[in-house]
């Protein structure tokens, strides 16, 4: 067992699960989307991205690309969240919530690709 692989897999899956947890629920209802979960998703996604740095294989490059996409989407979601809460006079309306959650949905797709890549990598790894 390779500890590096464990840590890597842990963060990739955790990024996807946290993202999924935030995304699930009625698109327009702010009560069903926890801001702490979004925060955790952002942090874990960033860590997963850094873990993918410096891998020279083709699959490593795609890994990094999906992670960067997820980061971009999630950071856009947090910015939209901040804008709705602090700047917009309407506050966290149903429309704003829908925007935030759908952005995180895009990130979820990227994270799912990441997990698929992880599975493919694991399956294609032949021992001995």
């Amino acid at each position: 067992m390779n500890l590096e692989k464990v840590v890597f897999g842990f963060f990739v899956v955790l990024a996807a699960t946290l993202n999924f947890g935030f995304f699930i629920g009625d698109l327009q209802n702010p009560a069903l989307h926890n801001k702490y979960e979004l925060f955790a998703a952002v942090v874990v996604n960033l860590i997963a991205t850094v873990l993918k740095f410096g891998d020279r294989t083709q699959i490593g490059a795609v890994h990094l690309a999906t992670s960067l996409v997820a980061d971009l989407q999630l950071i856009a979601a947090t910015l939209a969240f901040g804008f709705a809460v602090y700047v917009s006079s309407d506050g966290l309306t149903a429309a704003a919530t829908a925007g935030i959650v759908s952005l995180s949905g895009g990130a979820l797709l990227a994270n799912v690709v990441s997990v698929i890549l992880l599975v493919v990598e694991t399956v294609s790894f032949h021992r001995g």
Binding site: F39, A40, L46, I47, F53, G54, R56, G82, V85, Y86
Partner: protein
């Protein structure tokens, strides 16, 4: 015939593909290091992210109060804002409301955590920037980009010691580009301090690596020659080999110090080898046989601005004494003996016995007495130690002031001492090599001239030297090449086709044709046949290649004659012809026949 050509083309393509692959491998090596750096930044970045996450999360969870004392919790944006300016030690204070004690305790912990995180991350980054392998990778990338962007022909100089530096300055003065590879990083750094007109890409790298040679331009279409000048007996053949296998069509010049090495190199294509000791022996022979030829040779090899060397008169008969029987001593001795001269050799540690050899140190009075300098005519101090050589020269001169003295200078620092000694024939290996390579590469016609010139005899050389002095003065002016083709000399086509184009008619001042142009034609090449220093009655033909020596002004004037019909007409016939279209129409002069 066709099949042979096809085969040849295939061969070339194959070697070019090999070169490209090598260059790609080197580029991959450079990017591999960048990946390694990214890997090494993983830990600091993750620590930083985790610390930020913990401190921000803590701030949002810890209860605070607003200005009215009501319970209030910080949002993620506020928390991130506060941590950002706190962590970066900017410290705007407690925003948006003054903190409670709970919050302050947490912020205190956060400050220490984040400072450690930043210090770790920035420290790691700076350490990486200082990292040798990282810097080498950056330098390699930078160098690769610079070489790939070269659009003009350039030389690849492998080995940038004294010789490389001299050669580089002359090549630069010619307005040509070159790329430098050297093992020593100091010499490559020195490139930036050297005042070159053009930018010189340089890389500290092992010349023996063919991949690096490819990156340095061996596979670049504009690479016109490779010069191997390292002082490493292994590196030069390696560079020659790589050049011969990867780019068989590119000329190669290599420095060698022994004959066996030169023969080893001949196995790969036909690189031109320069052996300074062999050249010194040849020059000494030439100086003995034909002092004027030798004088002309050294003058033309000295590069632009070189002053006329004095014509030495070495003794043609008598006994010579050679101190030091190393690479130089052996060459000189065999050359002198080939001239029928008697030679006494002195060597403290002989490797193999030799006729007329005295074993002993030159500083030993008994050895000096044995060498019998009083009755010798020539003396060569050829050890590889400058101090020894200088003291030998001094001792020899004391015992016999009329001796013809030759000496070898090993280090550039000793130059003023040897100059003060006023040695007649001084060998500076670095300079000999640089002169030779320069003559071969700057103008191939000059190289041809220098090789064929000694056969013309001493009186001929003396006469040509006098002609050069009368035209150009005692400093060597520009040397340039001219091709009488319709592209390079459009105005001459008609005149040359006439079959009566005398050289003397062409070399006249365009402002006043009674005055000759300050230039001398050293060589004319026609269909591979050479004519050395043709006189004024020589008849030129289309396609001739000319090597000229003269003033830069003469070169410009000749350029005008070659391109402007009216000027050519005046210079050749003395008739003033209007050059503009309107004036030609008005004066009803027929169109020039040459166009």
């Amino acid at each position: 015939m066709a099949g042979k050509r096809l085969f040849r083309r295939n061969e070339q393509r194959r070697s070019r593909r090999g070169a490209l692959r090598l260059a790609a491998a080197s580029a991959a090596k450079a990017s591999a290091t960048i990946f390694l750096i990214m890997r090494r930044m993983r830990a600091p970045l993750i620590v930083l992210i985790v610390i930020f996450a913990i401190t921000v999360l803590g701030l949002t969870l810890i209860p605070g109060q607003d200005a009215q004392g009501r319970p209030w919790r910080m949002g993620f944006f506020d928390a991130f804002y506060v941590m950002s300016y706190t962590a970066s030690t900017i410290g705007f204070g407690e925003i948006p409301y003054p903190f409670t004690y709970n919050q302050r305790m947490w912020v205190t912990i956060s400050i220490y955590l984040t400072v450690i995180g930043w210090a770790y991350a920035i420290g790691s980054l700076l350490a990486l920037l200082q990292d040798r392998s990282f810097r080498q990778a950056l330098a390699l990338q930078h160098f690769t980009r610079k070489v790939a962007r070269l659009r003009e022909p350039f030389l690849l100089i492998a080995g940038y010691g004294q010789t490389g530096e001299l050669l580089g300055h002359w090549i630069d003065a010619l307005g040509r580009r070159f790329v430098v590879l050297d093992l020593s990083a100091e010499r490559i750094d020195g490139l930036e301090l050297d005042s070159y007109n053009a930018d010189v890409p340089g890389l500290a790298a092992d010349v023996r690596d063919p991949g690096l040679l490819s990156v340095a331009g061996l596979d670049h279409p504009s690479c016109e020659a490779v010069v191997a000048l390292t002082d490493d007996e292994e590196a030069n053949p390696a560079a020659v080999m790589a050049a011969a296998l990867l780019r068989p069509e590119v000329p190669v010049v290599a420095r060698v110090t022994t004959r066996t090495l030169a023969e080893r190199m001949q196995a790969f294509g036909s690189p031109s080898t320069v052996n300074p000791f062999d050249r010194f022996g040849d020059h000494l022979r030439l100086a003995l046989k034909a002092p004027a030829s030798y004088q002309l040779l050294t003058w033309l090899e000295s590069g632009p601005g070189g002053e006329l060397p004095t014509r030495g008169l070495p003794p043609r008969n008598g006994r010579w004494v050679v101190f030091g029987y190393g690479r130089l001593g052996q060459e000189v001795t065999s050359d002198l003996r080939a001239e029928g001269l008697e030679v006494t050799v002195v060597e403290p540690r002989p490797t193999h016995p030799e006729a007329d050899m005295i074993v002993g140190d030159g500083s030993d009075p008994w050895v000096m007495a044995q060498a019998d300098l009083d009755r010798a005519v020539g003396f060569v101090a050829g050890t590889d130690n400058d101090t020894t050589n200088l003291s030998l020269v001094a001792a020899a001169r004391r015992s016999n002031p009329s001796l013809f003295i030759g000496a070898r200078q090993n280090r550039p620092m000793s130059a003023p001492l040897f100059a003060a000694m006023e040695v007649y024939a001084l060998l500076v290996p670095a300079e000999v090599i640089a002169h030779e390579v320069y003559a071969q590469l700057s103008t191939p016609l000059l190289w041809r001239f220098l090789r064929e010139m000694p056969a013309q005899g001493d009186a001929w050389a003396a006469e040509l030297t006098d002609r050069l002095i009368s035209v150009c003065g005692k400093r060597l002016q520009a040397l340039w090449k001219l091709r009488l083709t319709p592209q390079e000399a459009p105005a001459l086509s008609g005149w040359l086709a006439g079959g009566n184009a005398r050289l003397a008619e062409l070399l006249r001042n365009p402002d006043d044709r009674d005055e000759p142009l300050h230039a001398v034609v050293l060589l004319v090449v026609r269909d591979g046949q050479t004519t050395l220093a043709p006189d004024g009655d020589f008849v030129l033909a289309p396609g001739d290649e000319l090597l000229l020596a003269g003033w830069a002004a003469a070169r410009r004037a000749l350029g005008t004659i070659l391109f402007v019909d009216a000027v050519r007409e005046y210079v050749v016939t003395g008739r003033r012809v209007p050059s503009s279209w309107i004036w030609r129409k008005l004066s009803r002069v027929p169109e020039p026949t040459s166009r």
